[in-house]
C-alpha cells in the first residue's frame, strides 16, 4: 500500500493501474488561441463615389448554434471610420475596448491642439486619425499578435476616408494579411457576395461612379444572398454608411422581400428523394 500523502484519496494503482498524468505534462509547444469560439460570419463593404457602405448581420454563432442574435459587429471609430469584425466575438470585444482607448487618447490630443470651439475648420475630424491611419494601426497590431503566436481571430474591414478625403476600404486578418479593393467581404461573403459586388464595382473607376443609393442596394442584395446560402447567418443586420459628414449606423435592419422559391430547386440536400 502506498502511504505517501500524494497517493491519499487516489484510486489504488494495484487495482486501477497507474494514474495517467500525461495530460498534465504538456509536451508540445506553448499554445494560445487555436480556434475561435463564438463567431460572427461575413462582413461586406463597397465603395461609392462619396464614401463606403458596410454591412454585417447581428448573429454570433457558437459552432453551428445561433447563440446570440443581437450582436453589433460594426463599430464606429470617432466620427471618421467604421470597423467591421468577422471571426471571434471575444477578440472583437477586446479590440473594441482597445479602439475606445485609442479614441479617448485621440480626443485628448485633439482637445489640446484645438484653438477654440466654433472657430471655423471643416468639422468632421480635421487632424484626427482617419480610416487609413486607423487601418495602419490595426494591421500593425494584428501582425504583431500573429508573430507572438497569439492571434486575434478576426478578419477586419476598415472603412472611411483617407487623408485626401477619398473613400477608403481595406482588410486585415488574423495572419496580418492586408489588402484593399473597391469592394471587400470576409468569410462566406468572399465567395458569395464578392462576385455580386464586383458586377457593380470591379475597379476604382466603377466604384467612383456608384451613387450612395446604388451602393446601399448592392449591399442589401448581398446580405439577402448571404442569408439564403450561409447557414451561419441571420436576417437581422447592421448597415453603416461613411462619408465626409460622418458615420450613419443602423443596427436593427431586417431583410426585406425574401423569396425562398429557389430552395425548391436545390438538389442533393435535405429530404427530397428524386
Amino acid at each position: 500500500m502506498d502511504h505517501r500523502p500524494q497517493a491519499w484519496g487516489r484510486p489504488r494503482d494495484d487495482v486501477y493501474g497507474a494514474y495517467d498524468a500525461s495530460y498534465l505534462h504538456n509536451n508540445g509547444p506553448k499554445t494560445a488561441t487555436q480556434s475561435p469560439i463564438v463567431t460572427g460570419t461575413s462582413v461586406i463593404a463597397i465603395k461609392f463615389k462619396d464614401g463606403v457602405v458596410m454591412a454585417a448581420d447581428n448573429l454570433a454563432s457558437y459552432g453551428s448554434l445561433a447563440r446570440f442574435t443581437d450582436v453589433k459587429r460594426l463599430r464606429p471609430f470617432l466620427s471618421t471610420s467604421v470597423v467591421g469584425f468577422g471571426g471571434d466575438v471575444s477578440d472583437m470585444q477586446f479590440l473594441d475596448r482597445h479602439l475606445k482607448e485609442l479614441a479617448t487618447d485621440e480626443a485628448y490630443e485633439h482637445e489640446a491642439s484645438s484653438t477654440t470651439t466654433d472657430e471655423g475648420g471643416s468639422g468632421a475630424g480635421e487632424g484626427q486619425l482617419n480610416a487609413a491611419n486607423l487601418y495602419k494601426y490595426l494591421s500593425k497590431l494584428m501582425y504583431r499578435r500573429r508573430n507572438d503566436f497569439d492571434p486575434l481571430w478576426n478578419q477586419i474591414l476598415v472603412a472611411g476616408l483617407d487623408a485626401h478625403a477619398k473613400p477608403f476600404l481595406a482588410s486585415v486578418d488574423l495572419r496580418g494579411t492586408t489588402f484593399t479593393s473597391p469592394s471587400l467581404a470576409t468569410g462566406f461573403g468572399a465567395m458569395l457576395a464578392q462576385p455580386i459586388m464586383r458586377r457593380y464595382a470591379a475597379t476604382e473607376e466603377d466604384a467612383a461612379r456608384l451613387t450612395r443609393e446604388e451602393a446601399v442596394n448592392v449591399i442589401k442584395e448581398c446580405m439577402k444572398v448571404l442569408f439564403y446560402r450561409d447557414a451561419r447567418s441571420l436576417d437581422r443586420y447592421s448597415i453603416a454608411v461613411v462619408t465626409k459628414d460622418g458615420v450613419e449606423l443602423s443596427e436593427d435592419e431586417q431583410l426585406e422581400k425574401q423569396s425562398w422559391a429557389f430552395a425548391e430547386r436545390i438538389r442533393g440536400y435535405g429530404t427530397q428523394v428524386v
Binding site: 486619425l129 491611419n133 500593425k140
Partner: protein, 273 residues
C-alpha cells in the same frame, strides 16, 4: 557670503514656493545664442545665430530637423538638446510607422514637456539646461512652440529665446499683426530682422553664423495638407536673405514689398508701419 539653502536640488521648495534649480536651469537658456521662430498661416520658420568657440573652430549648429515636418532651434546646453532631439525623432518615427502620418506637433511638444517635468520633481535628476523653439506643420497647419527647462510648453505666434532675446521679442511684438499673412520669404526676413535686434554691438549676420529653417503647409482642394518639409539653410544658401535685410534701419522696418532679394535693393525700400 549669503548661502541660499533652498537651491541645491530640484526637490526643495523655497518658502515662497519657488524651485531655484529650475530657475537656474532657465538661466542656462539665456547663455545660449539667440534663436527666433515665427509662424504664419502657411509657414513656420526658425532663424538662429551660431557661435564658434574660437576663430579656427567650426560654428555650433543651432537648428535641427526632427522629422519631415518638424524642426527645432536650441538655446542652452547643446548636449541636453541632443537628448531631447533624439527622443523627438524616435517618437515621430514611431508615430509614422504605426499610423502612417506626421505626428501632430502639439502631441510631440507635450511629450518633451512631460519628460522634462519629471526631472524637476525627483531627487538625483536635474532639469534640462536647454530651451527649444519647435516649429512644424501638421494637418492643422503651421505651429510654433516654446519649450522651457521647467517642462512648460506654450504655443506662440512668434518668439525668441537665448542671449539678449528680449530685443528680438520686442521687434516681434511690434510686428506681430503682420506675420499671419506673410509669405515664406517675408517671414524669413522678419525672423532675420528680429535676430539682428539681439546682436551685440558691431556683430552682424554673416553666411557663417546664420541658420534658417523653414517648413510649409499648403491646404489642398481636397482638404488635406501638403507638407513642404522642414529644411535647414546654412552658408551660401542664406546669403541672399541676409543681403535682403542688410540695409534695414534698426527698429521697426517692416516687410519689404519688392520681390528682389539680394542685389539691387534700393535705399528707398518701402517701409510699412
Amino acid at each position: 557670503m549669503f548661502r541660499n539653502n533652498y537651491d541645491n536640488d530640484s526637490v526643495t521648495f523655497s518658502p515662497q514656493g519657488r524651485i531655484f534649480q529650475v530657475e537656474y536651469a532657465a538661466e542656462a537658456v539665456k547663455q545660449g545664442s539667440v534663436v527666433v521662430g515665427i509662424a504664419s498661416k502657411t509657414h513656420a520658420v526658425l532663424v538662429a545665430v551660431k557661435r564658434n568657440a574660437e576663430e579656427l573652430s567650426s560654428y555650433q549648429k543651432k537648428l535641427f530637423p526632427i522629422d519631415e515636418h518638424v524642426g527645432i532651434a536650441i538655446a542652452g546646453l547643446t548636449s541636453d538638446a541632443r537628448v531631447l532631439s533624439n527622443f523627438m525623432k524616435q517618437q515621430c518615427l514611431g508615430h509614422r510607422l504605426t499610423y502612417g502620418r506626421n505626428m501632430p506637433v502639439r502631441t510631440l511638444v507635450d511629450m518633451i514637456g512631460s519628460k522634462a517635468q519629471i526631472n524637476t520633481q525627483h531627487y538625483g535628476k536635474r532639469p534640462y539646461g536647454v530651451g527649444l523653439l519647435v516649429a512644424g506643420v501638421d494637418e492643422q497647419g503651421p505651429h510654433l512652440f516654446e519649450f522651457q527647462p521647467s517642462g512648460m510648453t506654450e504655443q506662440m505666434m512668434a518668439f525668441a529665446i537665448g542671449a539678449r532675446s528680449q530685443m528680438a521679442r520686442t521687434y516681434l511684438e511690434k510686428n506681430l499683426d503682420k506675420f499671419a499673412d506673410c509669405d515664406r520669404e517675408e517671414l524669413i526676413r522678419h525672423g532675420l530682422r528680429a535676430l539682428k535686434e539681439s546682436l551685440v554691438q558691431d556683430r552682424e549676420l554673416t553666411v557663417d553664423n546664420t541658420s534658417v529653417g523653414v517648413a510649409g503647409a499648403a491646404k489642398q482642394d481636397d482638404g488635406s495638407t501638403k507638407v513642404d518639409p522642414f529644411k535647414v539653410y546654412d552658408g551660401h544658401d542664406v546669403a541672399a536673405w541676409i543681403e535682403s535685410v542688410a540695409d534695414d534701419k534698426e527698429g521697426d522696418a517692416g516687410a519689404g514689398e519688392g520681390e528682389g532679394e539680394g542685389e539691387g535693393e534700393t535705399e528707398g525700400m518701402e517701409v510699412d508701419s
